[in-house]
Amino acid sequence: MPRGGPSRPLGKEDNRLSKVTKRGRLALLTALVLVSIMATGCYGQASMQNPGWTALTASDGVVYAALSTGQVTALSSQEGGAEIWLYPASGGQKSPVGCGLPLSPKDDSGESPLDAVYGLPVLSDGRLVLASYDHHLYAFDRETGERTLTYPATESTLVDGPVIGGVTVDSDVAYFGSSDHKVYALDLTSSDLVWDAPFETDDWVWGTPVLDAARVYIGSMDHSVYALDRSSGALEWSRDMGASVLGGVALADGKVFVGTIDRHLYALDAETGEQLWQSEQYDGWLWGTPLAADGRVFFGSLDGAVHAVDASDGSAIWSQTVDGAVRAGVVAHDDTLIAATDTGKVYVIGMEAGDSEEALAADGQVLSSPAVDSDGTVYVGTAEGKVYALDLERRGDPTLWVYPPDKK
């Protein structure tokens, strides 16, 4: 009998089985590698690299944007979003491998892209001022994009935590809070701190401060809202809200309006901090800075809704459901509101009745407040680093231009 003769058919079968086993092992190894890649950050939010979003402001036909790539730019609206300047000139591209790693961390002049900027940039006396997750506040020449101020100037612990909220500038002084639990007042000309010491809370300060003639109002994740003396930083009053205050507070008609993660909006007396009212409980956290206008307060919630309440007693006027979480504050545009969501939808909502219309489905999440220029153009930035210019009066597609332009 030839060797292996009778067992030949069986041998083929077993070879097949053996191959299957080998394939199984190979599949296990492949699965391991894939899981590793996904887990180390080439997938979704897994990376320890800090993902940001696009925060912007607009004035006189120019939109200033801190992009999620870490670059800062000024775009001319009249020229279809053409770059007036870009800081740094290169270096914002992401690695094709993913993982949030920059392809070229520095440009020719040795400047690096910033870490994430979450707070809205502000314009003040020819400067564009913003603060970053990298514990620094920056100022740029608004005409040229030259970086004119970095505070602290060196890697120091003067600001010992990421700055998540925006900066408020008045009389050449920048006020901001940090995850180091502190609130700062910085003289932008001298780069000196105005107060003897930063005001210290018990937890992260992620909100943007709001000012009146005498005080700075700001919320903290230690559950409190604080009113500080503008000139000295001394505590005037504080109010425990019973839950973290993630975003900014609004000030109007002697009242401070604040939303918290217990899903209520509150009104406090700006003089004393006494609680005047609390709204009904909504289905999602309140994060974005409320907007107070015409005796009403407008705000979004993470469950995907925009609400209007009476500023005098907090009674509900209307609530409008939208597609996606409303993280940022809504902005006013004539007699309408512009609200953006984390599904990339931008809505125009009537202030009076809450009737809504979808204006844009952006290519990416919109997590910061839109900006409205004096000519009525609305600008929206996405977490993927795109800027949309919208003319909401235009019939059909309101998009005027998109930055960066589509390569097609």
Binding site: R3, G4, S7, R8, L10, G11, K12, D14, N15, L17, S18, T21, K22, G24, R25, L28, L29, A31, L32, V35, S36, M38, A39, T40, G41, G44, Q45, A46, M48, N50, P51, W53, A116, Y118, Y133, P162, I164, S179, D203, W204, W206, M221, G242, A243, S244, L246, T260, I261, D262, R263, D283, G284, W285, W287, L302, A325, R327, D342, L367, A383
Partner: protein, 292 residues
């Protein structure tokens, strides 16, 4: 005329196969209708995240204790699979002398060698791939846990946004604990990688190596032996590297999980009776006889 041969089908096996394929079909239909993302989020991420938050809140607001208890519970749930994996590994190990014997006998005939190996596995009731299943099942758990820990220890707005969207509204206590205390020993931020870049990676890599070493049994198949060796070195290195990139909180989960795995392995090796391959074969044959 010769009657067509009908395959000998075991009704129990058929029912089992039908149930398995039915379940797979049901999952695919539900997944395509409801959306895989929704199933992932509602079925895995949200329950796990909220369970972790619940433990954190009720266990002294300590992340370490919460993760320890959570890992223990997870290990308890997956322990039947773990035990099966370990037992499978032990059986394979016990069969090595017989496998070596077959290898020597059929050294020149690969086909025959494979046939005999398969026959031996079958007789002893061992599935050579059986040990892989528990590992594969644990992958989604690791990924979900990784995502949950990142969201739980949120220190950026995007992570906190996910927490805000994924936490159950009925979980009213959340307002008291957000943001979670992510600092331990005064300076170590669990949301960031190990600041020393060496302590946790070594602990994670070392404990994983030990666990792998305890679990990997000697193999007479050179290919299998080579793969085992590769895995034994690669896995600890990979996880050690991950630890330098990941939030320390996740590294702590890996460490605790490895320690529990080592203890489980040690316990089974210590207290289980030695495996007799002939007895396994007899048991498998008698099982087959009963079925027939």
């Amino acid at each position: 005329m010769q009657a067509a041969k009908t395959p000998n089908v075991d009704p129990k096996q058929l029912r089992k196969s039908l149930l398995t394929w039915g379940a797979i079909a049901a999952i695919v239909i539900i997944g395509t209708q409801v959306g895989w993302g929704t199933i992932w989020r509602e079925g895995l991420v949200r329950p796990m995240l909220n369970a972790l938050l619940f433990l954190y809140m009720h266990l002294g607001e300590s992340f370490i204790i919460a993760i320890l208890v959570f890992t223990l519970v997870l290990r308890l749930i997956t322990s039947p699979l773990q035990i099966r994996q370990i037992q499978s590994s032990r059986r394979m190990s016990a069969m090595q002398p017989k496998l070596q014997e077959i290898q020597k006998k059929h050294a020149g005939n690969k086909e025959k060698l494979v046939t005999e190996q398969q026959r031996l596995y079958k007789e002893a009731g061992i599935n050579p791939m059986g040990g892989c299943l528990p590992t594969l099942i644990q992958f989604p758990i690791w990924i979900v846990l990784y995502q949950s820990i990142n969201v739980m220890l949120a220190d950026t707005p995007i992570e906190l946004l996910r927490l805000g969207k994924d936490v159950y509204n009925a979980f009213t206590g959340i307002t008291q604990i957000v943001p979670l205390e992510s600092t331990i020993f005064g300076t170590m931020n669990l949301a960031q990688p190990d600041p020393t870049s060496i302590v946790l990676p070594i602990l994670v890599g070392g404990s994983m190596w030990l666990q792998q070493r305890m679990m990997t049994q000697p193999s007479s198949d050179p290919q299998q032996a080579s793969m085992n060796q590769t895995m034994q070195v690669m896995m600890p290195l990979m996880f050690g590297y991950f630890t330098t990139q990941f939030a320390s909180g996740l590294a702590i989960y890996f460490l605790i999980s490895n320690i529990i795995g080592i203890a489980l392995q040690w316990g089974i090796q210590k207290f289980s009776p030695p495996i007799d391959v002939d007895a396994l074969a007899t048991a498998a044959a008698s099982k087959k006889g009963k079925k027939a």
